[in-house]
């Protein structure tokens, strides 16, 4: 196991694509210390910004990187990783686990926007809140998250799961606007409330809102009332209104919304 402690609070964003078990596993302590990293527009080495501690940990077979301290300015931690673990004890910066192909990232604090964007496999678990575009595609691209799991225990921001193609995003707290925008497939589960416009331009996939939602987009049509819904094999008790959309894009996505928490939507029942 390798532990990283930031030597000083970062003012400029740090681009740390190299903090990944894939990179560390093949390198000696010396090589790891010399890894190149950008702080703002300055080239630094990993040891210049972080105190690096090597520990022999026989409890886990997987290679583990532990980051202790505030790394909310450090971007791309675990980007493109395919194995091992990263544990961030504190807040993590943007693009956490971008394009990751495997392994596990755990953050005890908050994470910023673009967490798990374009990820293909693996698990990201955030104990705190996250920013926008979780599991989304790159700007302009239509290739969003295509596998894996993102579990958020706090709240999430806007456009979560933009262009998502496969996998699961679970938000235990509340979620911002446009959850599952352009969604192609996969599942988004929201335990808390949604700010609305969920599923805009979705083609397929499933969004489950267990809390309150102000309104359903007019391009969604009510289809059914279901007593429960399956999320990743687990049953969630309802009842739920099931909406189909986004019809503006010829979509056939499923939007499940809790019936009990959304009494203002009962006027839809007359169309059943």
């Amino acid at each position: 196991m390798i532990t990283l402690h930031p030597k000083h609070p970062f003012k400029a964003p740090v681009d740390a694509e190299c903090i990944s078990p894939d990179v560390f596993a093949e390198k000696s302590a010396k090589e790891i210390a010399a890894l190149q990293i950008w702080e703002g527009n300055r080239k630094r080495t990993l040891s210049g910004l972080f105190k690096i501690k090597h520990e022999n940990d026989s409890s886990s077979k997987e290679f583990t990187i532990r980051i202790c301290g505030d790394v909310s300015k450090v971007r791309k931690i675990g980007a493109k990783m395919s194995k091992g673990n990263i544990i961030v004890e504190g807040d993590a910066g943007m693009h956490l686990g971008e394009e990751m192909k495997g392994g596990v990232i755990t953050v005890t604090g908050n994470a910023d926007s673009w967490t798990g964007s374009m990820m293909k496999e693996g698990t990201i678990e955030i104990k705190g809140n996250v920013g926008d575009y979780i599991g989304a595609s790159y700007r302009g691209s239509t290739q969003g998250m295509s596998g894996g799991k993102i579990i958020i225990h706090g709240d999430a921001g806007y456009e979560v799961g933009c262009f998502m193609r496969k996998g699961l995003i679970k938000v235990h707290g509340n979620i911002g606007k446009f959850a599952g925008i352009h969604m192609r497939n996969g599942t988004i589960f929201i335990q808390g409330n949604s700010e609305g416009r969920a599923g805009a331009q979705m083609i397929s996939g499933k969004i489950v809102v267990c809390g309150h939602i102000p309104s359903i987009l007019p391009t969604f049509t009510i289809d059914n009332v279901r007593p429960k819904v399956k999320v990743n094999g687990e049953k969630v008790e309802g009842p739920f209104y099931r909406f189909i959309g986004d019809l503006a894009d010829g979509g056939n996505g499923k939007l499940f919304v809790s019936k009990t928490k959304n009494t203002h939507l009962n006027s839809y029942e007359e169309y059943l």
Binding site: S137, Y138, R139, G140, S141, T142, Q143, D249
Partner: protein, 542 residues
């Protein structure tokens, strides 16, 4: 054989003791490449760049001591465009579609495209004044008008895109054939084509009319392409071409819908082989992710409906339209694979390489950086077979390629990539290494006398990817595929001398005031606006 260069020109002899000598023994020496049709600058290209951050993210060029940073891939930034062309030994690029209203923007970007000489064609086929003049059969007045437009926009040739169709598109319609009248103007595509072809001759413009046909990109459109060529057949004099059908692959489709799509290359090639008034360029499709952009608004709308991708559609006031749709050509799609096959069939079936030129209609068929691949396909049946084995089965069954055993020689490649294009453009000082030509030279690391391109197509592809030397205007600008000296290229523009000046009356000014966002007085671009202007004067017959 030695090629002597002095003061940016190729000369008979120089003092060998004082001269810098480049030993190109065992290499291929060609004139600098000329691209007759490549969308590299202007409002449309720039909108494409803005539309596609995902196109740039994985293709970044870092700045060096000599070059600027930039991005690719299908729509590279201006400087990167210049560098990439130069690295492949190209020295002259034609930007084929410029709405006259966007001329200023286009020239600003062309000025920022280093390393190459360039020029741009204003879109005149759906310009209101042209339509009105042609409706009233005022050919000479229209010619005077276009002469003014060439000077005002610093243009090089008359570009016609989907004649009549673009004006119709402004009202949500399109024209279906050459005799379908344009709404509100009562003029047909045939009249537009013939009128502008006559005007092109009257003005003695160095290039012919540059035509993107009606019904482009629709199954069964090879008939329209043939009709378009036939409609100006009688205007030809001798064996001089009078019409250039651009990105011909996109208008060589047989069939009634996408399922039954097949190649019309044979029919088009047959016609072109028997007639001298037509030149073509390929518009070859490459299997890659690219960005389609044309002034053909209705075509782009169709493409958007087909793909459901993000898109841009624009109505450039009274002049033209435009559209942009990102597109991915897939090997396993029978339509895309058939398109790929048609492009090559055209090039191989047209017997005379001076009649068809190599382009991808960058970036519509694919980025220009794929040219070495096309060269390999043209030169080697093995290379074609290899790609054929990977494409959709249905497309493979329909393809004519297995029945064609023609393989281009190095000489023919030199024709389709430079000499032919320069000749079609009327650029007498480009595309050859004769005395008096501009000293634009490309040296490639492949020995044409020893390398059997048919088998060693990979060697050829590698060689054309990176020129050993690119010499531009007598200066070494690229060495071993690296830029060693950044230079500005010239911008060619046509100054047409007419005895009959355009009539500037109050009616014209009123129209500008009422219909354009730019006043008549602010419309022309002064020569001083261009970084390195290169005026070409021609004397018109009016």
């Amino acid at each position: 054989m030695d090629i002597a260069i002095k003061n940016g020109k190729i000369v008979k002899k120089v003092n060998a003791k004082k001269a810098k000598i480049i030993d190109a023994l065992g290499m291929t020496v060609m004139p600098g490449g000329v691209d007759i049709h490549s969308h590299i600058a202007g409002a449309e290209v720039n909108s494409g760049r803005l539309l596609r951050p995902e196109d740039h993210v994985n293709d970044v060029e870092v700045k060096t001591a000599l070059t600027r940073s930039g991005v690719g891939y299908s729509i590279p930034s201006t400087f990167t465009t210049g560098y990439r062309y130069s690295r492949m030994g190209y020295t002259t690029i034609m930007n084929p579609s410029m709405p006259p209203l966007e001329a200023r923007h286009t020239h600003e970007e062309l000025d920022d495209t280093p390393m190459v000489d360039k020029a741009t064609y204003p879109l005149l086929g759906d310009w209101w004044f042209v339509l009105e003049h042609l409706r009233d059969d005022l050919i000479e007045e229209c010619a005077a008008h276009i002469a003014w437009m060439m000077t005002a926009t610093k243009g090089y040739a008359i570009k016609i895109v989907n004649p009549g169709g673009l004006e119709s598109w402004s009202f949500g319609r399109n024209v279906q054939n050459l005799d379908d009248p344009v709404p509100n103007f009562n003029v047909t595509p045939r009249e537009i084509l013939r009128g502008l072809c006559k005007i092109n001759k009257l003005l003695n413009l160095p290039h012919t009319i540059h035509v993107h046909t009606n019904n482009l990109g629709k199954p069964g459109n090879y008939v329209t392409a043939l009709e378009t060529m036939k409609c100006v057949e009688d205007l030809a004099e001798g064996n001089r071409p009078v019409i250039h059908i651009t990105h011909c692959q996109f208008c060589a489709y047989k069939g009634s819908d996408w399922r039954t799509l097949s190649s019309g290359a044979e029919e088009i090639a047959k016609y072109v082989n028997h007639h001298d008034h037509v030149t073509l360029d390929m518009g070859q499709v490459i299997f890659t992710d690219t960005t389609t952009m044309t002034a053909d608004g209705p075509f782009q709308y169709g493409l958007y409906n087909l793909t459901g991708n993000k898109w841009v559609n624009h109505d450039v006031e009274t002049e033209t339209t435009s559209g942009i749709v990102p597109f991915r050509y897939k090997r396993k799609s029978s339509v895309h694979a058939t398109q790929w096959s048609i492009g090559l069939e055209l090039a191989l079936l047209v017997k005379d390489p001076w009649k068809i030129y190599m382009t991808t209609d960058h970036p519509n068929g694919g980025p220009f950086t794929a040219y070495p691949k096309i060269i390999a396909w043209l030169m080697s049946q093995v290379a074609r077979k290899k790609t054929l084995s990977k494409i959709s089965k249905r497309a493979r069954r329909k393809s004519l390629l297995p029945s064609i055993d023609r393989e281009f020689s190095f000489y023919e490649i030199a024709v389709v990539t430079r000499a032919g294009q320069a000749k079609a453009l009327g650029l007498t000082q480009k595309g050859h290494l004769g005395i008096g030509a501009d000293a634009d030279v490309a040296v490639f690391n492949v020995n044409p006398e020893q390398v059997d391109a048919s088998k060693k197509y990979k060697t050829v592809r590698r060689a054309f990817k990176k020129a050993v030397y690119t010499i531009k205007g007598g200066e070494i600008v690229v060495k071993d595929g690296q830029i060693v000296k950044p230079v500005f290229g010239k911008t060619f523009w046509i100054d047409v001398k007419t005895s009959l000046p355009m009539e500037v009356n109050d009616d014209l000014k009123r129209k500008f005031r009422e219909y354009w966002t730019v006043e008549y007085e602010n419309y022309p671009i002064p020569e001083s606006f261009l970084h390195v202007p290169a005026q070409i004067s021609v004397k018109a017959e009016i």
